[in-house]
Amino acid sequence: MDTQAATTMIDRRNSAQVWSWLAEVPDPEIPVISVVDLGIVRDVAWHGDECVVTITPTYSGCPAMTVIADAITQALREHGIESVRLQTQLSPAWTTDWMSEDGKRKLKAYGIAPPAEQVIDISGLRSDAAAASAISRKRPALVVVCPHCGSSRTRITSQFGSTPCKALYRCDDCLEPFDYFKCH
């Protein structure tokens, strides 16, 4: 189908179509989940003929963001949208709460334990005591389930893994190391 024909078929009042296309754009670091599963696409809007996609960075220095922006633009162009504009939104800051249930399932099947604890709720932290609890060594340890064998007997080996969004864990039952997608 040529671009001209595709363009005439796009219903500009219907951003659901655009969302479904974005749901096929893979995350460059973890290709089993899409940028929509990851929760980084915050809004899709039409300004005349221009499609404006609002994205939010996962981590400030995440080098994948440029690749993600390019992939989104390219995917929409391939679907016949000629004018695509990406805009970045910082607030509210990205949280793993926005990750879809489907995305979490796919992560687990891929061998990465999905986010397990409640998000670090810093929005309500006003008092010194509350702020200190998020960083206290007495904070409750979270239970991360091994994506390989399902055991809860796991331990953290490092707060940081191969990408900023992951931590390194080890399973005490099957003895396999694995990545854990950190709560954020």
């Binding site: 400030s60 220095g61 200190a132 490092s158 707060q159 940081f160 900023p164 390194l168």
Partner: protein, 256 residues
């Protein structure tokens, strides 16, 4: 060039935040491939990556406020040491691993409490960058605190190295909490918290970690270094910038 005082103050204030993140990121990146363990190597470079991202956000905003046609890259690569506004603490050498770790722990703890307060900034953009950064810094501080305990309450040798680093770096912590006229100007309009107001929470956290790490806390009222925030630096910054800025100085405008 911005000429009214408020704009100029805000520009310089943003440089303090951006330069501090940038310089520490550069220091940490020197450990890449040389960390004492694979996990530590990855942790240091992850933290460096978060900090470079934060530095970009602060310096981009600084460049916009300045309105002189510069961008974040020009601010990072084409200013000299006396134009940098980072804390003296973050330009201190990597030294041995205890030196790197203690520098990080002192900074992370300040960063955590400072960003928590900065989220209430009257400047929306600053509040948003602080909100974003705080999530990352929470993990930085958990790691550096855990490791201070592990090495402090470790072997006789590891404890002694950490204690030596604590004693050597302590005089560089005062600057983080000492307000000058620029801090006062920002506090007066609700852009920034009074740095002194965060000192009690910082001291409490450091004391709690040190107690578990069996480390001795230096006297809080000890004599403290200052000058970084005003552009008066130790000799270390010049060497760091020479390495960091070489490419853009030798090949102006070079693109990756």
């Amino acid at each position: 060039m911005a000429n009214d005082k408020f704009t100029n103050d805000k520009f310089n204030y943003l440089l303090r935040l951006g330069d501090t993140a940038l310089v520490l990121s550069q220091q940490l990146s020197k450990w890449c491939g040389k960390g004492p363990a694979l996990e530590e190597d990855m942790a240091l470079t992850n933290v460096a990556l978060d900090l470079i991202g934060q530095a970009r956000m602060w310096l981009s905003y600084a460049a916009e406020i300045e309105g002189a046609g510069r961008d974040e890259d020009q601010l990072a690569f084409l200013r000299d040491a006396h134009q940098f506004r980072n804390f003296l603490l973050v330009e201190q050498p990597n030294g041995n691993y205890a030196d790197t770790l203690v520098r990080q722990f002192f900074f992370d703890a300040w960063h955590y409490f400072y960003l928590g307060a900065l989220k209430q900034s009257s400047d929306q953009r600053i509040a948003e960058i602080a909100e974003k950064s705080l999530k990352e810094v929470t993990y930085h501080l958990r790691r550096s605190g855990d490791l201070v305990v592990r090495l402090g309450d470790g072997t006789e040798l590891s404890r002694s190295k950490v204690q030596t680093a604590v004693n050597a770096l302590w005089p560089y912590t005062g600057e983080m909490f000492k307000a000058d006229a620029l801090d006062d100007a920002m506090t007066a309009v609700g852009i920034a918290p009074d740095p002194a107001s965060l000192r009690a929470a910082w001291l409490d956290h450091v004391a709690e970690i040190f107690a578990e790490a069996t480390l001795t806390m230096p006297a809080p009222d000890a004599w403290m270094q200052k000058g970084g925030k005003q552009g008066v630096h130790t000799e270390h910054l010049g060497y760091l910038l020479a390495e960091m800025q070489f490419l853009q100085r030798a090949y102006p405008g070079a693109q990756w």
